[in-house]
Assembly symmetry: C2
Homo-oligomer: 202 residues x 2
């Protein structure tokens, strides 16, 4: 039976680093950006369009001019979104059936909730806002000089989109601890320590 560890994460909390290192520690596959590539392969849409859909709240990408008169265009866009959501579901299910793995984001915890022959373990990584701003500053690429205020705005916008997409897709609240087996606050817990000890729980 494959063990699939899903990682939900607040922006800037180190969730991706945690997921990557956990996969390495467990010697299992790691899926993050590859999910987007596989969704693109399954549909006829551009990478940019798919990314817009799955990284923004679907309702946000509706043209602001939508009205009764444009209902046909709106309906067409809904069909496109449905196709992308369907492709996302298929991609996650295929990944889980291939081998044990770590999957970051993409509502994988929800998609895999009732799948037989998968041992599912759902983790949520979060941190307080100050730790997340500090992490972003510490890891900024050379030449990137966002202020703490700008980073705070960016963090909140990304999280709002993630929460919205998750809620539209699952009808559950993003980050609600009841939907996870373990929630780790990286404000105080070092990611390497969390990886070592979570790996032993699995």
């Amino acid at each position: 039976m494959n063990t699939v560890i899903t990682i939900g994460r607040e922006f800037g909390s180190g969730g991706r680093e945690f997921g990557y290192k956990l996969a390495k520690e467990l010697e299992v596959a790691y899926y993050d950006k590859q999910i987007l590539s596989e969704i693109v392969d399954k549909t006829e849409y551009s990478r940019e369009y798919v990314q817009d859909i799955i990284e923004s709240r679907p309702s946000y990408i509706m043209p602001s001019t939508v009205s009764v008169g444009t209902s046909i265009g709106c309906e067409y866009q809904l069909i496109q979104m449905k196709e992308i959501v369907q492709a996302q579901t298929e991609v996650i299910l295929e990944m889980a059936s291939r081998s044990s793995c770590v999957i970051v984001g993409r509502c994988a915890d929800y998609i895999l909730r009732d799948v037989e022959n998968v041992r599912l373990f759902r983790i949520f990584i979060y941190a307080d806002l100050q730790s997340r701003i500090k992490r972003c500053i510490d890891r900024a690429p050379e030449g990137e000089n966002y202020t703490a205020k700008e980073l705070e705005k960016h963090i909140k916008r990304v999280d709002k989109n993630r929460a919205g997409y998750y809620s539209d897709f699952t009808l559950q609240k993003w980050g609600d601890k009841n939907n996870y087996d373990l929630c780790i606050n990286t404000s105080k817990i070092r990611i390497d320590d969390a990886v070592t000890n979570v790996a032993k729980l699995l």
Copy 2:
């Protein structure tokens, strides 16, 4: 510097067992029922009265006949509650200053939030309702035969009281993951495994 681990927990999730075993693993003091005894020692009230106050939402213990005409009695009761809350705060602060320890419940995470010279680590233990009912049935003393329905009602009532007391005391939401460093769902994670690995994080 003393390390103090506070344990918030849903009823029936195994939070006390986790806390007791963690204290044993770390070879530090464990405080649970003793908190009540020390509060009683600090006040002039009976054990039963103090227990009523700290295990129920304060507003619940107001006499149902309270009206304008009984406002003096009501005020007297408020003074008593304030004394008990003050004693609770002092007891927790004293425990944290004595030695490293594990403290179960009693808003200790909030009381110790800004205390210098204490390394605070806040854990919340929870589980889905079915796991909690099963746990209560598995551990029921001989002769106790509550039905699942009765246990569900009891679990919900205890948690409602805990949430209410916590919220009255701290103005925070009980069980909100942002107030904890680690939240562990014992529906899937074995308590002994959690103890071993959390101990290594500290």
